[in-house]
Amino acid sequence: MSCTRMESKMLGYVDGRLKASEVRDVEAHLAKCAACSLRVKEFRAVSTLLSGLPEIEPSAAFDMRVRALVAAEPVKRSWWAGFAPSPRVAFAASMLAVAMAWVGSRPDVPAVNVASNPGVVVIDSSDLPVLENFDVLQNFEPLTDLPQPATQSDDASPQDPNQTM
């Protein structure tokens, strides 16, 4: 090993950071090079002096100041958080969803049995509660005095007379 190459190994040797094979190479060089041998001793002395330097203790308020800085940090929101609804909008949306679910869960109007009774429209009167009192309204005496609709007799509507309600 040359003295130049020794430079890159010297500090590692002083601090015991070399591999065993590198240590053998360094020691073989030191055994025959007085200059490098002296340099190693001097570097070791420098290292010892540096080790003796006392440390300082962070002040008592250090942790508290760091915690205060961290606590003052604004809460970081992800980019999609801006789309999050306000509580009022969320409540309105949930109520709308409940209403839609309720409407959707109601039983369907029975289908018209076109195959067995062509031309007959079956309407479930339970879905049309106002028609429950149709007979009462029809026979309501005060209403009989009212003139009949002019078009009733002349109406040429294609409405089937067999239609039931």
């Binding site: 430079e7 890159s8 010297m10 500090l11 590692g12 601090d15 950071r17 340099r39 001793k41 001097e42 570097f43 002395a45 420098v46 290292s47 010892t48 002096l49 540096l50 080790s51 003796g52 330097l53 006392p54 440390e55 300082i56 203790e57 962070p58 002040s59 250090f62 942790d63 100041r65 760091v66 915690r67 800085l69 961290v70 940090e73 970081k76």
Partner: protein, 199 residues
């Protein structure tokens, strides 16, 4: 079993504030000492160390354990310290020219030399303080990058790979940097080195 730095940081990322407190406890002293030795101003060193922790906290959501936690931590600290040294270089020169004769206290604070001190081992104590001051000044005289390399190598015991990443240089360049730094320290501290070698 103590959780590793990376595990603690991942927990911080997941929202665990207690893990951040553990990291703070683990690294406050090494960071403050590193920064104090870099900039030689205790108050400023603490301010910078707080800034380091704040930056770690701010970056928690983006943290990816691609390198050692200490590499990341001391990279932030080194960059802050180097910027601070460059910003205050003129100010530091003025202070050093006008500074009164002081000795370094053991806690690192400088105080005026008090000859009336009735400390029983006053002579030994003063000798030690003068020696510490010489060592600090020798470190202080190193170019910033060499100083950072020596401090990270000697006091933080980081390996060459880590220090290379922190200082953004190759391992061979780092070894050369450290060799030159130790050469400077050997010359600056020659009387102390000679004394040390006698022991």
């Amino acid at each position: 079993m103590a959780r590793s730095d990376v595990q603690l940081m991942m927990d911080v990322k997941a929202g665990d504030e207690q893990s951040f407190a553990l990291l703070l406890q683990r690294y406050r002293s090494p960071l403050v000492n590193f920064l104090y030795r870099m900039i030689r101003n205790r108050e400023q060193a603490e301010d910078l160390a707080q800034e380091v922790f704040l930056r770690v906290y701010r970056a928690r959501k983006d943290y990816v354990p691609s390198a050692k936690f200490t590499t990341w931590l001391f990279r932030i600290a080194t960059n802050l310290a180097l910027n601070s040294v460059r910003d205050t270089r003129h100010q530091r020169m003025e202070i050093s020219l006008d500074a009164p004769v002081t000795v370094d206290a053991e806690d690192g604070d400088e105080r005026p030399l008090d000859v009336a001190d009735k400390h029983p081992d006053i002579e030994q104590h003063l000798v030690q303080e003068v020696q510490n001051k010489m060592i600090r000044h020798a470190i202080d005289k190193l170019p910033e990058k060499q100083r950072a390399a020596v401090l990270l190598h000697k006091y933080q015991e980081l390996d060459y790979g880590e220090i290379g990443k922190i200082l953004e240089c190759s391992e061979s360049a780092l070894k050369s940097l450290l060799f030159r730094a130790y050469e400077t320290l050997r010359v600056e501290l020659a009387p102390l080195v000679a004394q040390q070698m006698k022991h």
